[in-house]
Symmetry: C2
Subunit: 146 residues, 2 copies
Amino acid sequence: MTAHNANAAAEIRALIDDRAKAIRAKDVEGSTAGYAPDVLLFDVVSPLRYVGRDAVRKRLAEWFSSFEGPLGFEQRDLGIRAQHDVAFVHSLNRVTATTIDGTKLDMWWRATVCWRRTGGTWRITHEHASVPFDAASGHASLGLKP
Amino acid sequence: MTAHNANAAAEIRALIDDRAKAIRAKDVEGSTAGYAPDVLLFDVVSPLRYVGRDAVRKRLAEWFSSFEGPLGFEQRDLGIRAQHDVAFVHSLNRVTATTIDGTKLDMWWRATVCWRRTGGTWRITHEHASVPFDAASGHASLGLKP
């Protein structure tokens, strides 16, 4: 990896850390500042896709408001591949929280986030977040741990 | 996009088309030729992840052998972002087939495929395939259509 590309990876890493802090603070603006206006999101729950930053903001605001009290957010096995103005990142993410109806949530999911740098600014143009499902039962596998 | 990058996108496009043909032919070797030896796969069904081309080959061979007769495979809304030696691709994929127990399958899923070129050869280093789930029921949403 050249110094230029190592630098790109470090920039992406800093953006990921900032975003994680914003998620823990349930800060919708901070969590979605990095999205491109025309971002394509494949989210953990239905529908099939969301298109555009405004739709993603709305979805995230709903998600944050479904929790009471602190929101734990962690990322592990982070892989970053950045070259020039394109980057992709994969990780396993975990949320620990209590929903407003009192249910304890502790869930891991898979995340792939694709970035593009335009005019010197990195933006997320595509994100894919999911849990697999159990082929026998058809249920989402919400209890998996890495 | 520079000519170099347009060319990279065209190369990726050709590899995607070749792979689609191999999938329709239930050709395990052809379908997995593009994977890097250490590929990380987040698949539609559990477990959380597969690591390595051998694991992906085994998984795909099982999937192909679960069908009787022709396997329909289609990709739409293909987005390709390629620059120098890094590329990512997203699409909505569809399979139409009959399982060995006679069940008709017609399913769409979301796919994100991340590529890296090493020594002149493009390889898939990461793939993420999923369906979302319905938050109310906990069931995988297998009937969604774009």
